[in-house]
Amino acid sequence: MTFEELCGKQTEEVERQQALKNRIMCCTAAGCLSCGADGLRQAISAEIAAQGRQADVELCGSGCMGMCSRGPLVLSAACNRLYGNVAPADAAALVSADPAATETLADRAIDLDSPFFSKQTRIVLANSGHVDPEKLADYIAAGGYQSLGKALTAMSPRDVVEEVKKSGLRGRGGAGYPTGLKWELVMKQIPQVKYVVCNADEGDPGAFMDRSVLEGDPHRVLEGMAIAGFAVGAQQGFIYVRGEYGLAIQRLQTAIKQAEREHLLGARILDSGFQFRIDLRVGAGAFVCGEETALIASIEGKRGEPRQRPPYPPESGLWGAPTLINNVETFANIPPIVQNGGDWFASVGTASSKGTKVFALAGKIVNTGLIEVPMGTTLRTILFDIGGGIPEGKFKAAQTGGPSGGCIPEQFLDTPVDYESLVTIGSIMGSGGLIVMDDKSCMVDVARFFMEFCMDESCGKCIPCRAGTVQMHDILHRMTRGDATEDDIEMLETLSGLLRETSLCGLGQTAPNPVMSTLKYFRDEYEAHIRERRCPAGLCQMESQLEEAMA
């Protein structure tokens, strides 16, 4: 396919869709599938056949629509209405041409003008919920692969890198390294063989942003990677996706096949001289493989253990070749940046953090789900306007950055969410998991949970992380059972310092963060566990209580 043919195909598909009376988008992301979207989809499909409306009503699957707490979700494009908690019995009303028939669904309609939607800015998730992730034509109709076409026909690799630099995009995996600089580093390397790697080993507890992007809009990530390949001079890309993401893997495989068939990937892309292949590498369930050097070792077929940096992957990565590693969300930001220009992207967000960030809202919050907000939005807006607040009880803390992040207490709710501000208050941006806790959550137990996670996921290579997490978990575990002393807090702090300063990779270096931030803001809870053998949240079962219960 040439670039002209691609544009032709887009027009053709858009016209076909406009000719339809209705398009029913049924959310087929993992969240909705788990509450029955599959059966619902079959029921709607059967209903379309029963009413004989195959010609003018189309049923499509779609990516995550965001409000996962109300699944399964269905979007009726003709009247632009979104319905939640839809059951197979509602199929007839959805398909029916008679507007009165949808009255039965009226109480389950979700207001698309509510703050949940109106306060969001969707760049990465622009297509999510509007495009069928299993149909290439749908993505093309939404302007897909236009950016790749633009890059190949009208730009030089240097132009692309400059545009990304200008956009101010920073790595969405959590560390926030400027993406443009990374691309430039790889572009400038002399060796002929280079690689582009997409890190889709999302593993933070409570985080599902990358999974949703891969499930909802896989072609966008492929397009971003192909543009990266063109910019840095690579012909081979790998997506390292965690094995638990079965649906994402399946959709990626489908998408890669579709794109190769249409010469949007593989040899002679869009009839140009550029070739770029993408292969999947499926992880085997190790959190540490999200660390870039461990990820490289894993792709090479070695034990997934990190190594000392420098040399950094842009210099020496996969099989010693210059390697560009970016996160799923980072790649997903690339097509709109190339299409609309770096300045457009830089106009969103704050001075040092540009663009938007996708967050996965989880925990004690009304609207659990997937959201995307401009950088600099306050936590209060995210949690109370978009998230709808706490269902019952009182807000206590929000946890960002997973096991590498920290807990943010109430007094910082008005902090703008950007890379620097979050670090200042003892947390990190992280990959986008946002877990909300109310007054029934015990902060010592939260710290213990994350330490247990790090202990289980430590690769065992360096001593501070391997043995230090065990000792820290031991202390925290004893605290939650009322079996700790004041000295233990001091030892916890000493060990935190050791892990932070001496661990080999980010996993160990950041493992103390949840402990340090809860100690900083909720020290009284720690002290209550130790001095009074009491859990203020009433969650921890103290040893003395257990003994009483036994007697």
Binding site: E457, C459, K461, I463, P464, A467, L498, E501, T502, L504
Partner: protein
Amino acid sequence: MSVKTLEIDGRMLTGRTGETVFAVAWDHGIQIPRLCHVGGLSDVGACRLCLVEIEGRKRLQASCLTLIEEGMVVKTATPKLKSHRKLIVELLLAERNHVCSVCVMNGECELQDLAASHGVDHVRLRYQFPSLPVDTSHERFGIDHNRCILCTRCVRVCDEVEGAHTWDVCGRGTASHIISDLGEPWGESDTCTSCGKCVQVCPTGALFSKGKTVAEMRKDRGFLKYIVTAREKKQWIG
């Protein structure tokens, strides 16, 4: 070959381009502590004992993996480094069952020496007392996982010098352990050549020659160099 000048612990020293900070320091008598490094093998930077402070670098650097640079200013024994090293040794002692009084290496053990030189007169952490096996299926040697500190010297010497790659690491985190071949008993290993290099490089009593009782095991560090150079020097016996 070009030479670089750097400052280590206040002394102006020179080293060849491509040498590590660790190597240059030891060449000049500055003995940075280490457990995973052995001369002649690749370095992995796993024990974190050789960490040093380098001016202008935010993080502490593993000196065994850091190449020297002109004008570098290195400090190898600041109070912070010393306290970190002491705690790392304590972590190791608490992790498995390091009971010196009944160990074949008592008095000759690198871990024990480190504990002594870092003033570890007691361990502030809780001992974990894991239940670990001892494999004595090999006719000449044994491996006692209770003493293993997972430095992976044995893995590297077997792979890089002997070329057998009998040893590797299995499991992760605190469950990591050294295995022969695919987890078979050492005595049944098809790849093991019984050369004994792993035994000689092991810093503790984890790998030992059979027939040695408490404090009798002596490790021959010269053995490795001999193995590597003996062919050229025609030193093979018999």
